[in-house]
Amino acid sequence: MKYVDEFRDARTIRRLADEIAGLVDPGRTYRIMEICGGHTHSIFRFGLSQLLPDNIDLIHGPGCPVCVLPMGRMDVGLAMAEQDGLIFTAFGDMMRVPGSTGSPLESKARGADIRMVYSPLDALKIAQENPERPVMFFAIGFETTAPSTAVTIMRAKAAGVGNFFVFCNHILVNPAIRALLDMDDMRLDAFIGPGHVSTVIGCEPYRFIAEDYGRPIVVSGFEPVDIMQSIAMILRQMKDGTAKVENQYSRALPWEGNPAARAALDLVFETRDSFEWRGLGRIPHSAYAIREEFAEFDAEKQIGVHGQTFPDPVEAQCGDVLKGAIKPRDCRLFGNACTPETPVGALMVSSEGACAAQYKYADVTIGSTD
């Protein structure tokens, strides 16, 4: 496949690995966080960590929306699903995410009308085809997925659809980065920035990372060459003693992002005062809520929820993994109680979760607790 092959070329990857080895100072360590779950997945899938010097530690960041969703939000969504006549719609990746009383798939087995959709527009179509029943879409994701939800709500309003509701769990990447940088027990030297979030927000919003915190950030594509090249660009900045925002993914990503998408986000959403993130706690201004002008579509306002919410299971160490304090295989449940088939923590549910990615690609011996 043109361009994909070129960015998986083994010789280019080896050349970049050599360049990286030549850029590191053996007298120090480098803690580089890849923010996006897609990068985490590629790093494990292509074994990129094994190509890096031992003193480069890739920290897997909070860029998997499923992984950072607190169990309590899942409980609220599933409580909505159990309302009489309601059709619950969500992406396929949400179907096995555990709430305190089970996953959407388990709710379906108990009789709830749970339907998997590819797009929020599919959920709107279901609402238009079932005008006598309320249809709820479980919206989740960063600034890349939020525009799809915004467009869907705008189309629902234009079409006068009265039975379509959105349970909004959209979150924002930069408040989470700032929260991580403000943590006393976190040391992060640089960031690999999210390629597709930046398609919407552009590269400018990352400037605070370089200017306020003195950390380099390189927005990266998702192929192995992209990620290796981004690491080399970060190391070059660090060697030169500079910190700036760079765009490695310029072949696909305009520096300014997409103003039309941002306008749609501004029209439909406003930022919440704060929002709970699994493992990170409440982060100010880190999530979207639906604006009052579109409140008729806001499931939290229109659908009465009487479900009880529960905190995340304490035995899983998702939060420590999300903060980079431990590696996935260091969690006491990894590979024994918590597997992709029977996930306890959300990091094992999504294919973008650090635990699921390591489990799939690191040849783990099931049952090993060493």
């Binding site: 992406f91 929020p120 960063f142 189309r155 696909a252």
Partner: protein, 73 residues
């Protein structure tokens, strides 16, 4: 399911894929992905995109126009 979809999570940004617009009808377009699949996408958010342009598609909605033609279906 193509390679991109097989390794991706639909709630995550990396599930977005490139597609080339073949025809436009109002706010929707028919587009061809890198694997040759023809899909219907919403183009509300890429007002400048036209036939032949490559767009980044996330969950059936084009969220950005790609600066250069990155794929050849």
């Amino acid at each position: 399911m193509n390679d991109q979809q097989a390794r991706s999570c639909s709630v995550c940004a990396d599930a977005a894929e490139h597609a080339v617009i073949e025809s436009i009808a109002g706010s929707d377009a028919r587009a061809v992905t890198a694997t040759g699949e023809t899909v219907t996408i919403a183009i509300d958010l890429v007002p400048d995109a036209g036939v032949g342009d490559t767009v980044l598609v996330q969950q059936g909605v084009a969220i950005g126009r790609v600066p250069r033609r990155e794929i050849q279906p």
